[in-house]
């Protein structure tokens, strides 16, 4: 069973090939290169290095969001098109769960964080090795998140490069409850995307057409439009 994993949900890029439960190759980087310029060449290169043709793949795993709208869409578009044209199953994995999966052999609460600008984050709480969702993936103001975490009254391990943006705020609210994961756990990795994907059931190939990103947030124009409709109803 040969998997290709694709992770482009935020600035970091990662692609990986896993064969029969063993990592064959993985590429992880965190540089300012657009995913449109970087992702497809990375896939081409990793397959060339491990001596595989596109059709040798048995399944594709992709980080489905949340994260940067454009970043998520590029990974999903590449994965969706490859899976459809090669007629191989496509499995989507939460970008937050995949990041939490970096923290292996840890049994406590893990809080992955992606910056969503203006004091907002995409976040969740996953527990331990089973990566059980205690707080489902959502878009929230950092203050809302910290309030919920404080109520849990247990240590929280924060992971992700964007944690640093909010760290002062986090410590201020949570004090000793807040634990910072080592920097080497901070980048999302395509091998973890694949590892989480292998725990899921393989969908049939017809499902690929209906695969969509998990933005966890409606578009701003749509939010405004819904608000207007509501106001009209009240008038």
């Amino acid at each position: 069973m040969i998997w290709l994993g694709i992770e482009t949900a935020n600035t970091p890029l990662s692609v990986a090939v896993v064969k029969d439960g063993k990592v064959v190759a993985e590429m992880v980087q965190n540089i300012k290169l657009t995913h449109s310029a970087g992702a497809m060449p990375a896939i081409e290169e990793i397959l060339a290095r491990v001596g595989l043709k596109p059709n040798d793949l048995d399944a594709i795993a992709v980080s489905e969001g949340p994260g940067s709208y454009t970043g998520v869409r590029i990974g999903v578009t590449l994965a969706k098109t490859l899976a459809w044209t090669l007629q191989k199953p496509l499995v989507g994995v939460s970008s937050l769960q995949a990041l939490a999966a970096n923290v292996v052999l840890y049994n406590g609460m893990i809080c992955p964080v992606f910056d969503a600008r203006r004091g907002n984050v995409y976040t969740a709480v996953y527990q331990g090795m089973a990566l059980e969702a205690i707080v489902d993936d959502y878009h929230a103001h950092i203050d809302d998140l910290l309030e919920r975490l404080k109520a849990l009254e247990v240590p929280i391990l924060f992971v992700g490069t964007d944690v640093d943006i909010f760290w002062e705020n986090i410590v201020e609210v949570l004090g000793d409850q807040a634990v910072r994961a080592p920097f080497s756990f901070d980048l999302p990795r395509a091998t973890e995307v694949i590892r989480v994907a292998t725990k899921k059931e393989l969908p049939n190939v017809e499902a690929t057409h209906y695969f969509v990103p998990q933005y966890k947030r409606i578009a701003e124009a749509e939010a405004n439009w819904l608000k207007e409709q509501k106001e009209k109803q009240h008038e």
């Binding site: 497809m40 709208y69 578009t77 459809w84 044209t85 057409h209 969509v212 578009a219 439009w225």
Partner: protein
């Protein structure tokens, strides 16, 4: 990637630069084997215009289905294709990226070369799907985002001799439609109202410098807004048909006169109109009349090839492919891409 010889002359083309998700299969750059367009107009209507983020979301939802439908209607497999063509720019960057990344993944998986096409080159080459292009040629490109006069000496040679200095013609149509409270997209409605109108409100014609082939429509748009404002203040009703007729007459007269003058100066053998606004009845009729009298063949593609589609991208990609033009897997969306000659 990079073969120069074609097996069947079959190009799969993909277009996603604005609010249409489109795929087509074109044979030898002139025969439409299939042409699929998934329009998002219904979704954008409630916002009164195209919302880029919503457009991008719809493109991801539709893209593989649209490509599959293009292959199914053509009764072809990926192995029957010779190349993949895709709109590289200009357009909404987030929207362009979906078509581009789908095209790259498809090309890579099926070991096909990829060609990145300029959207306006596509609009012009839509004509190659109707009759052979004869050079030198003059193209009037009019759409929601573009108003350009393009002179072509030969295949792949583009000289933009005139362009809008502010609003595109289609943009002016949409804004005037909003003044008249017409639903989006307003262009076709204004065209219809203009035809129903007997009287026309006189609006100015903007000619710019005497020898210029450039256009300007923002003054005309303001004139319409001011007219409505003044009438409102006086408590008088405006006649939508008279406003539409007056506005359209101004746009059509300037577009027609400048196109005619350019056609004479450049002594072209063919004049073509392209882009969404080229479907406008008023403009079409006016251009047909003057070029008929002038004795220069004038062509405008059928409606479904005037509005955004992938068939036109496949038509433009063929001469590019033959000239050895190739994209690669690093291709990125180019929202402000310039129309450049490839010869």
């Amino acid at each position: 990637m990079g073969e120069f010889i074609m097996k069947n002359g079959m190009i799969l083309a993909i277009e996603s630069s604005c609010d249409e998700t489109a795929a087509a299969i074109i044979r030898n750059g002139k025969e439409i084997v299939s042409n699929v367009v998934a329009s998002q107009i219904e979704s954008h209507k409630r916002f009164g215009g195209v919302v880029p983020e919503i457009a991008s979301r719809h493109h991801v939802e539709q893209i593989t289905m649209v490509i599959e439908e293009a292959l199914a209607q053509a009764n072809l497999k990926p192995a029957d294709l010779d190349a993949v063509a895709v709109t590289e720019g200009p357009g909404l960057v987030g929207a362009l990226l979906i078509g581009i990344n789908a095209a790259k993944a498809f090309a890579f998986a099926n070991n096909l070369p990829i060609v990145g096409v300029h959207h306006i080159a596509g609009h012009i080459y839509a004509n190659a799907l109707v009759q052979p292009m004869e050079f030198p040629l003059l193209a009037l490109v009019v759409s929601g985002g573009h108003t350009e006069l393009v002179y072509m000496k030969e295949h792949g040679s583009f000289e933009v001799i005139g362009e809008t200095r502010d609003d595109a013609a289609g943009e002016a149509y949409d804004k005037v439609a909003r003044v008249l409270n017409l639903p989006y997209p307003g262009g076709p409605r204004i065209d219809q109202l203009a035809h129903e109108g007997e009287e026309a409100v006189p609006f100015p014609r903007v000619w710019l410098e005497e020898d210029s082939y450039d256009f300007s429509f923002s003054g005309l748009k303001s004139a319409v807004i001011n007219y409505k404002h003044n009438m409102d203040q006086r408590g008088e009703q405006i006649s939508p048909t008279a406003v539409a007729k007056g506005f359209q007459e101004s746009v059509v007269e300037v577009l027609t006169a400048k196109t005619l003058r350019a056609a004479r100066e450049y002594q072209v053998k063919q004049v073509i109109a392209a882009g969404g606004v080229a479907a406008n009845r008023g403009l079409r009729t006016s251009l047909e009349a003057v070029f008929n009298e002038e004795g220069i063949p004038f062509f405008v593609p059928p409606l479904k090839l005037c509005t955004d589609n992938a068939a036109m991208i496949g038509a433009a990609a063929m001469p590019m492919f033959e000239a050895g033009m190739r994209g690669n897997l690093m291709m990125n969306g180019r929202p402000g891409m310039e129309l450049k000659s490839w010869v």
